[in-house]
């Protein structure tokens, strides 16, 4: 597994990018050159300089420092969203696919209802209902996204539950726990990882979008989407303001998308030494 991972250049590169970004975010206080909250109104929209490597924003705050501190909400919230989605969707999907019958009927009808709403509108509705708050944004994202995973995992489970190796396990009385964890989970994990790493990009963009609209992370907390939102106001006079957060989002989201493709290749056992 490790050898196969190291052989895949895309996987190594993208995982490195994501890890480096995450580490920078974790150690933000030691890396950031300035205080991200310190406003210096006399020095607003400053050009690139030694003291402010990426210039300053509309309140004269260091953009690089804000970018570095912004990793925490951007990446952290996205990962949290995906964990919640995977957990809820995975559990529901496994239950529906493995036990069938009434359990499946109830879960899948709820899923059908969830899938019939346009996702963005649902997020707005949930956030509007529960109030503008970061927790609510995550809740809303998990709430609309789990149904996709439940349905996909159920399909995966159904595809494998009648395979002979599971029939054998059931025949000789292997505990259900072993069948679910050792047989079913790894079998559907490769599809799941691909979808999850693609969707983490979606989550980042979604959180950024909500912040951009002023519904997510609130000022003065630095967040990439919120930074773009502030930069938008001076689109014509200071267009360079958008470059830094814009590129940062593109790089992170692309890294996750490429990582999804690479991980699928790695997790397929038949790709050995290919």
């Amino acid at each position: 597994m490790a050898a196969r991972f190291l052989h895949n250049k895309t996987a190594v590169a993208t995982v490195t990018i994501v890890l480096v970004i995450a580490i920078i975010g974790i150690f933000a206080p030691f890396i950031a050159p300035n205080d991200p909250f310190k406003a210096d109104i006399m020095n607003k929209y400053a050009p690139y300089s030694a003291q402010y490597p990426l210039g300053t924003d509309n309140l004269g705050r260091c953009i690089l420092s804000r970018l570095i501190y912004g990793i925490r909400p951007t990446l952290g919230l996205a990962v949290l969203t995906m964990l919640g989605t995977l957990g809820l969707g995975g559990l529901m999907g496994l239950l529906a696919g493995y036990f069938r019958g009434m359990t499946e009927e109830i879960i899948m009808r709820v899923v059908d209802v969830m899938l019939s709403f346009p996702s963005q509108i649902m997020v707005f509705a949930v956030v509007a209902l529960l109030g503008i708050n970061v927790q609510n944004v995550i809740l809303a994202n998990v709430f609309i996204k789990w149904a996709w995973y439940a349905r996909m995992i159920r399909t995966g489970v159904m595809q494998y539950r009648d395979k002979n190796f599971i029939q054998f396990s059931r025949c000789i009385g292997t505990p259900e726990r072993f069948i679910l964890i050792r047989h079913l989970m790894p079998s559907i994990a490769s599809d799941l990882v691909v979808l999850a790493s693609l969707d983490i990009g979606w989550a980042i963009i979604n959180i950024s979008t909500l912040s951009f609209l002023g519904l997510g992370v609130q000022a003065p907390t630095p967040e990439w989407g919120a930074m773009l939102n502030e930069a938008k106001n001076v689109l014509t006079s200071n267009p360079t303001q958008m470059i830094a957060p814009g590129i940062a989002i593109v790089v992170l989201v692309s890294a996750f998308n490429l990582m999804g493709d690479a991980l699928r290749d790695i997790l397929d056992p038949k790709e050995v030494n290919a």
């Binding site: 029939q167 054998f168 079998s187 056992p269």
Partner: protein
């Protein structure tokens, strides 16, 4: 040892006459058989005769509409104890070896699942490492196979691994659901010799589900013909030529014709 009594099985039909129709197609009609310890029963029948369904009923995976399966006198579908008894004493080898083993498991993990079943039965751990080698040796493979994935094995090798896994649970009965039909003639003979040897060594009981008469005559003591879900004939292999069943006759004839062609 294993007894099937008055079993009926039906499935809901795909094509219904009414929208919410509940028409069912009956695939097994009043099947009763008895398998004695140490014997080998062959279940013969053409495609769609209900052989595999009967196999699924016997290994406890499909609850029949009517009737019951008994293992050493205990009902399998009625009581938990009977089910547990069946799980501990019956093992299975499938026809399609490509899906018989989890493609993400190494040979070692595949065998480990069987050994785990044996450990559950025993209630304690067994000497692990030599166990794997012994198992591989019983099916004529060496320990270099332990770290391989299923797709790195040939069909015959993988089917041997499946047999080793079935043997690893230390069952009393092994059910072969067309287990050798998908192998080529040469490997079939090898595997059947292996099975004969194992049967002697471990005093096993075999149930062979197949449509291949030659393999039945080679290994089985008794043979049962299944036609459209009904038992049409049940007799010892030695008297198979006396069979009055039309399907059995057809099968026998086809072999004789084949041999005539060979000598001609």
């Amino acid at each position: 040892m294993l007894e099937v009594k008055n079993v009926d099985v039906s499935f809901r039909s795909e094509r219904q006459t009414r929208i919410f129709g509940t028409d069912r197609t009956q695939v097994l009609h009043d099947i009763s058989i008895k398998v004695d310890k140490g014997s080998c029963l062959g279940i013969l029948g053409e495609s769609g005769s209900g052989k595999s369904t009967l196999g699924r009923v016997m290994c406890g995976l499909l609850k029949p509409d009517r009737g019951e399966v008994y293992i050493q006198g205990k009902p399998v579908y009625e009581s938990r104890a009977g089910k547990k008894q069946l799980q501990q004493s019956l093992s299975i080898v499938f026809q399609d070896y490509t899906t018989s083993a989890n493609p993400r498991f190494r040979v070692r993990d595949i065998l480990k699942e069987g050994i785990m079943a044996y450990e559950r039965k025993l209630g304690k751990k067994v000497g692990q490492e030599t166990e794997y080698e012994d198992l591989l040796k019983t099916v004529g493979l060496d320990s270099s196979f332990l770290m391989r994935y299923p797709h790195e094995l040939s069909g015959g090798q993988l089917q041997r691994i499946c047999i080793a896994r079935a043997v690893a649970c230390r069952p009393e009965i092994i059910l072969f659901d067309e287990a050798i039909s998908s192998l080529d003639a040469h490997t079939q003979v090898q595997v059947m010799d292996l099975l004969k040897e194992l049967k002697e060594k471990l005093s096993l009981t075999y149930i062979f589900i197949t449509h291949d008469l030659t393999s039945v005559t080679y290994i089985c003591d008794n043979v049962m013909f299944l036609y459209k879900g009904r038992i049409t004939e049940y007799l010892p292999v030695s008297r198979i030529s006396e069979s009055k069943d039309t399907y059995a006759k057809q099968l026998l004839n086809s072999i004789i014709v084949y041999e005539d062609e060979m000598t001609a």
